[in-house]
């Protein structure tokens, strides 16, 4: 047992699977995250969306209950069970009243071991996923993220959406999904995390039941080619009509959470753009009033290399000035030019904020799980403050310099190309500028 707050994390190996438990009896509720590794990163070429489909399909009926009966049982208890597919892992996520824990987990055990995977359920599911991917293009912020991923990782498997790519989804065969499910579901691929009104013994028994009927054997692994790194400034204008505002992203692949520099780099990014008083928001919003939002982010708990991203949304008339400002700020950041006062303020912020981020059993569970999924001990959750406190100011600048290339960056702008493209080319003559239609890849005829 590990515990440095009023909540304690228990980790055990259970029949080849990994168990995390946090007991919290303050309310009669149990949350669970049953994770399957790896995630969509393992989808073979030409099958982007395979993991998403197999996860969703597992909840559309089992050999015991058809889709309607399965969901009727679940819903009558008020329990929620859903599948979430990410790049690094997929998970079944649920919440239930304490008194309905056993029957809810019995349904999940059935879904994991005996999914029906019916072709007549798969066809409409794929259509729904495709429609969801199309609808994503209607939100400019989501649109910017889609094309940022594509632009950062062009030609690489990570450039695909973990939810799938439409041509691949439409060509996905039912047999491939069934085969993938049989290959992927192994106890060793499962990390089950429980938080709430249950005992460790109950959680252990629950996990034993979840993996009892899974085939034994080694779990699949995923190997990715090295990531491409941008050279020079690449600007991608995602052309959408009638925009009066530009969703702006500026990014570069950075580090894995397992990298020795990850925490110092993250602290630097926080100091630069992770708070309301950080230089990025101050310059963009407070000084100039250009954008409601402006912040920089980096996921310090990714197993794969995660990007560092600036996000802002300036009005059309100031968008190029904002790009120029952010490029200038990025180059300074990449050179490690960050005031020690800003770093100390950020350190104070993240250290003092940390108790809030692991305050509830569900928050702590997610944090512990994320550490576990990148190969660290869950107890690392409680070591973060000490590790942050030990970082030297010079370490931050060095991590920034080692990670970021001042000359290599990707800029994505969701904007009306006719209103902005000539000006972009004139203002940034050194940049490689490309225009893509916002509906590219949707398989729609918009002529």
């Amino acid at each position: 047992m590990i515990g440095k707050s009023s909540l304690a994390i228990v980790q055990e190996d259970v029949d080849g699977a990994t168990l995390l438990v946090i007991e919290d009896h303050s309310l009669p509720v149990v949350r669970f995250l049953v994770t399957l590794r790896p995630g969509a990163e393992s989808d073979p070429s030409g099958q982007a969306g395979l993991t998403r489909v197999l996860m969703d399909l597992s909840l559309r009926g089992t050999t015991t209950d058809d889709r309607q009966a399965f969901n009727a049982k679940l819903e009558e208890m008020g329990s929620h069970l859903s599948a979430v597919t990410g790049t690094e892992a997929a998970m079944w996520r649920g919440i239930t009243l304490r008194r309905h824990l056993d029957p809810t987990l019995a349904l999940l055990a059935d879904a994991m071991a005996r999914p029906a995977l019916q072709p007549d359920e798969m066809t409409p599911l794929v259509e729904e996923i495709v429609e969801g991917l199309r609808a994503d293009r209607d939100d400019d912020e989501t649109l910017a993220e889609i094309f940022l991923r594509r632009s950062l990782y062009e030609g690489h498997r990570l450039g695909r959406s973990p939810q799938g790519e439409i041509p691949d989804l439409q060509g996905l065969a039912s047999d491939a999904v069934t085969a993938a499910f049989r290959e992927r579901l192994r106890p060793g691929a499962v990390v089950a995390a429980f938080a709430g009104d249950l005992s460790v013994a109950e959680a252990r028994a629950a996990l034993q039941r979840l993996v009892a009927d899974l085939p034994k054997g080694a779990p699949v692994t995923s190997t990715l080619a090295p990531l491409p790194r941008p050279r020079g400034v690449k600007v991608v204008i995602v052309d959408k009509p009638e925009r009066t505002q530009v969703q702006l992203r500026l990014a570069r692949p950075a580090l894995s959470g397992r990298d020795a520099d990850a925490l110092a780099f993250w602290l630097g990014v926080m100091a630069f753009g992770g708070t309301f008083t950080a230089p990025l928001l101050h310059e963009v919003r407070d000084v100039r009033g250009w954008s409601y939002t402006a912040h920089a982010g980096f996921d310090r708990l990714g197993r794969l290399v995660a990007p560092m991203v600036f996000r802002s949304a300036p009005g059309l008339e100031v968008a190029l000035d904002c790009v120029a400002l952010e490029l200038d700020l990025y180059r300074k950041l990449a050179a490690g030019e960050l005031a020690s006062e800003a770093i100390e303020l950020a350190r104070s912020y993240v250290l003092n904020r940390y108790p809030l981020e692991i305050a509830t059993s569900s928050d702590l569970l997610m944090a512990a799980l994320r550490h576990q999924l990148i190969g660290q001990e869950p107890e690392e959750v409680f070591q973060i403050p000490a590790r942050l406190a030990a970082i030297q100011i010079a370490d931050v600048g060095a991590a920034l310099r080692r990670t970021l290339d001042p000359a290599g960056v990707v800029v994505v702008m969701v904007a009306t190309a006719s209103a902005i493209e000539p000006a972009v080319r004139a203002r940034f003559p050194e940049a490689e500028v490309r225009v893509v239609d916002f509906a590219e890849g949707l398989g729609l005829n918009r002529s």
Binding site: E75, A135, E242, W290, A313, L356
Partner: protein, 448 residues
């Protein structure tokens, strides 16, 4: 418990030199209880001791929202919320954000039609609690609105509007829906404000709005977390006790005329997938039919077997998703069925299917559906109480809207009192076609 809380009020009165009285308390379970106190200047204080983590949530709720604005000055309450972070004589521009961030809290706030609130959540150590009181009590009545900050922040708000409305199909649709569904009531105006009104925003008018509504007797301070109630109350009384109460405008309650015919508004935007919203005038949160509507909404839209989901998504394949939105308005608001339609789907057909399913509620609910609804709402109630922020928000909402914080804990009582046999009547009262406003976004040119 009551005696200890009475003693806390006595101690606070004595140590702060202002009258503090206990105005009720409520125990929910072994872990959670809440108490309400009043200061002589009218400030309401809600305390919820919670030792689950060594942190506390501090929220300041004002009984003012966009419904209180001059109809020609929409957006003022929200803009003022932005300006509240700009400093006072004691704490100049930037100090609030800097000090809170140093201590691990990002300041934040929200403005809605009925209320405005400001939030901080911090670890319970050192002088964090005293510092929050210092900043919050200071800006409650001593904000400085300088011209340069005013203009700069106005640009930020205009840009927020561009992001959340002008360049957002769903935001534009929501604005159009409320404008069409309400003809008189101020809920028809967008909280973010119309761009034309933002362009004309005047500093003296905003200052007048601030001086009118920001006062201790129009506010509730909610503190939930690992704090000793007596010590917390003493500090709060010292911090706020010196602020003067002021006369508040009489409530100008506008009653929306009954809608007697179906309405529809259609927007075109560069979208791939149409969005269809069918909205119905709905009761305010404390009116009896609201609890019935909460139960009905679970049956209609929550889960794979929910009636509208199954019909629109699974069976008729007209939509990729469907949601129900029942906002707890203080006055009669709307219940919205929001449909992400498939490209090319017939909007008229979608509306017909929605109405058919709503009409079928007249046949009653199955016992299984009733159990689903009650269990789902019970789970949602617990979910809202899982952390100090959720607890504080629930207390602040109910106290600000209805002057009754205990409602944060008593949802199960309200739902259990709903007579299942009368659900069809409640559905019929709300889901009449003549009470319906449909708002649609279709692919095409237009808008931003």
């Amino acid at each position: 418990m009551g005696a200890a809380l009475e003693r806390a009020a006595v101690v606070a009165s004595r140590e702060a030199g202002v009258a503090v009285s206990l105005a009720g308390h409520f125990r929910y379970n072994d872990v959670l209880m809440a108490a309400r106190f009043r200061l002589a200047n009218g400030l309401t204080v809600l305390l919820l001791p919670d030792e689950r983590a060594q942190i506390f949530a501090y929220q300041t709720w004002f009984r003012v929202g966009s419904k209180h604005e001059d109809p020609e000055k929409s957006g003022m309450a929200h803009f003022l919320e932005h300006l509240m972070f700009k400093g006072t004589a004691r704490h100049p521009l930037g100090e609030l954000d800097r000090e809170m961030e140093r201590r691990g809290s990002q300041t934040n706030a929200a403005t809605w039609v009925d209320w405005t609130y400001y939030v901080e959540t911090l670890a319970t150590h050192g002088d964090n609690f005293a510092t929050v009181i210092d900043f919050e009590s200071d800006r409650m009545t001593r904000l400085i609105l300088d011209a340069q900050t005013f203009e700069s922040e106005l640009e930020v708000v205009k840009n927020e509007r561009r992001m959340s409305v002008d360049n957002s199909p769903s935001g534009a649709l929501s604005e159009a829906l409320y404008s069409a569904a309400f003809t008189s009531h101020p809920y028809r105006r967008p909280t973010i404000g119309l761009m034309a009104h933002l362009e004309q925003m005047q500093r003296d008018a905003v200052e007048h709005f601030y001086r009118t509504y920001y006062a201790p007797n129009n506010a509730t301070v909610v503190v939930a977390g690992a704090l000793d109630p007596t010590e917390a109350l003493v500090q709060l009384a010292k911090g706020y006790g010196g602020l003067a109460a002021q006369a508040l405008p009489a409530a100008n309650r506008i009653v929306e005329p009954e809608q007697r015919e179906a309405r529809q508004v259609t927007l075109t935007r560069p979208v791939v997938s149409p969005i269809v919203v069918a909205a119905f005038h709905a009761p305010a949160q404390l009116q009896p039919d609201f609890a019935a509507l909460e139960l009905l909404s679970e049956v209609l839209v929550v889960g794979d077997n929910a009636r509208l989901y199954r019909r629109l998504v699974t069976e008729d394949e007209l939509a990729s998703d469907v949601m129900g939105v029942l906002v707890p308005f203080a006055e009669p608001g709307l219940y919205e069925v929001v449909v992400n339609a498939r490209p090319g789907a017939d909007v008229g057909q979608i509306v017909r299917v929605i109405q058919e399913e709503l009409d079928h509620l007249a046949d009653g609910l199955s016992a299984q559906e009733v159990r689903k609804a009650r269990h789902g709402l019970e789970l949602g109630l617990y979910d809202g109480l899982k952390d100090v922020e959720g607890c504080a928000e629930a207390l602040g909402h109910y106290e600000t809207n209805y002057k009754d914080y205990t409602l944060a804990f008593t949802g199960m009582d309200r739902w259990s009192k709903v007579e299942v046999a009368k659900l069809p009547e409640a559905a019929a009262r709300v889901f009449s076609p003549t009470n319906r406003t449909v708002a649609v976004v279709l692919p095409g040119e237009g808008g931003a």
